[in-house]
Symmetry: C2
Subunit: 343 residues, 2 copies
């Protein structure tokens, strides 16, 4: 950072005041600079290889161009898809995106959020926070309050447990719709690979699924609802357990797609063919999964659009109407071909 070219250098080289150079290079509301001066300044800037110092600018202007995005794991396709939407929308506005992964660790999430506060991020997006204990919630709330006090905006995706603006996802409705669709395909005996307990997203999907089944007069045996990690390995483990105790279901619903992938692997290891031997459905609509064999039935969420909406919600702040919950589309594919005896 030594020997940096500063605005003062440029101004001197162009024979104008720093103020004029600033106005010429970075603009100033309502003010203009004479064309010839502007040209001279621009030339000097290029000549000297000048580049604004964003920190100095942030100091002086009192506002930044950084937005933060907090996810569980950027390597999870769900998070990556959302991130791509956030980043695209941010790029359009000249905003820079800082991403942090919590690795499902509440302390880490807090650390990242604090860092974003220190950066005076203009907005931060919480994509799928999953800690519901009172202690972490309180700690998070205090930081989000500080961010808000500093003029930053906060938005959440999915479930809001912090009282912030949220891009809501109709997990309940999507799961219910999926359940009734599966019933109409002739399935009657279900098992659910649920996520961890007390995770709102999972709870909603499970509740919605149950509701959908009930609408078709189908019951869900509590024995067939397994709580597990919200990951590929979680799905694998839970499916193995189900198989070990002798699978008593003709259709398995994994509350998200990556869990379904794990379940698929477990089924295959056990010699089951997904589709013909047992049906399988997921939730999220991760892009890659349309290409697996058999293609997975799922509730497809417009993930990049959700990310984009979250960014827009965050930068818009309190103004604007509350957005409608995002609904997913039930996509029936070969992993749930339907029961043969049903037309």
């Amino acid at each position: 950072m030594t020997g940096q070219v500063t605005l003062a250098d440029v101004a001197r080289a162009a024979g104008v005041s720093p103020a004029t150079a600033s106005r010429a290079l970075n603009g100033s509301p309502g003010r203009t600079v004479r064309a010839d001066l502007a040209v001279r300044v621009a030339a000097a800037a290029v000549e000297l290889g000048y580049s604004v110092n964003a920190h100095a600018q942030a100091m002086a202007r009192g506002t930044t161009t950084t937005v933060g995005l907090i996810v569980h794991d950027i390597a999870d396709p769900y998070a990556a898809a959302i991130a791509s939407g956030v980043m695209a929308a941010a790029a359009e506005r000249g905003l820079i995106v800082t991403i942090a992964s919590t690795a499902s660790d509440a302390a880490l999430e807090l650390t990242h959020l604090r860092a974003l506060l220190q950066q005076r991020a203009r907005a931060v997006i919480l994509a799928g926070s999953r800690f519901t204990d009172a202690e972490s919630t309180a700690a998070m709330s205090s930081v989000t309050a500080a961010i808000a006090a500093a003029g930053g905006r906060i938005a959440a995706i999915g479930a809001d447990r912090l009282g912030v603006r949220t891009v809501e996802i109709d997990n309940f409705g999507g799961a219910a719709h999926l359940a009734s669709t599966l019933c109409s395909l002739g399935y009657r005996h279900f098992a659910v690979l649920a996520g961890p307990e007390h995770l709102v997203t999972c709870d909603d999907r499970l509740a919605g699924f149950r509701e959908g089944l009930a609408g078709a007069g189908v019951d869900l045996d509590p024995e067939n609802v397994l709580t597990t990690q919200f990951t590929r390995d979680g799905g694998y483990v839970a499916m193995r357990e189900l198989l070990d105790r002798g699978l008593a279901a003709d259709c398995v619903f994994a509350v998200n797609d990556v869990m379904a992938v794990g379940a698929m692997a477990a089924l295959r290891e056990h010699g089951y063919r997904v589709g013909s031997d047992v049906a399988l459905a997921g939730f999220d609509g991760i892009p890659t999964l349309r290409d697996i064999e058999p293609p997975l039935t799922t509730v497809r969420l417009p993930l990049p659009e959700i990310g984009r909406a979250a960014l827009e919600l965050a930068v818009a702040g309190e103004t604007g109407p509350r957005p409608a919950p995002v609904r997913g589309d039930v996509v029936v594919r070969a992993s749930t071909p339907g029961v043969a005896s049903v037309p």
Copy 2:
């Protein structure tokens, strides 16, 4: 950003000077603060809800805690896996990661790089830049030079075309090893879905593959080498073309895994069963692909470790030994079961 509590406020509340407060809260090399004062300062900070302003800190200290990562598309599992490694290593050092996607657009890449310069990022990692024309290279070089001049470090992953420290990947060797392995499985007629022309990574993989075949006395018909996009859709399109002209190969090599996924989809649409009807191999070792059916033979790269290495290389700067190129492991799975007549 108004009504922010500043260090001066904390100092006043604690009855000490700003300097002492600064030393107590944020430390200073070699200096210590008397315990009781430190306690008072800490208490005041909590009381007032103080949070350092990272921009002011960056200004005063002349250095930042931001590192930038530039990828093509964060939704690509390859980039996401690298990013997770970069972020993990960064978190350990208290560094914040800013990610930008170029969407394979040279102008966008330049824009992002400039933004990182303005932020005075301590390091920036270029993961798979793919523009080789003289104009973009020159523009990029001038910005990287400016970043270096500002004390920032640059590191690249894969091919280095900018003269920066690079985590090299042995694409040639990996592809050669894959080719000879496939030959030993009995395959003799190959097709390659190559990426775009002049993309160093692709060129290396193609050349290595050819070399490996040559070592087994097998020839690669130029007709069977298709240039295409480096994406899932690229693989799909190229595979369709190959099929339309009547597939004249018993084994197809896609130069990366996402292309292989697209190829698999095209094959399936045409009624081919991957593995038994035609063999298929990829490159990268993207995690999800171990779970697809049939599991994909590939050259597995330790993507998160590569990301981690790139970060370490970048923050280490010019010191330290040049790291050895990363070698991939050939992983043979069911997509290349081998030719029946061969034991």
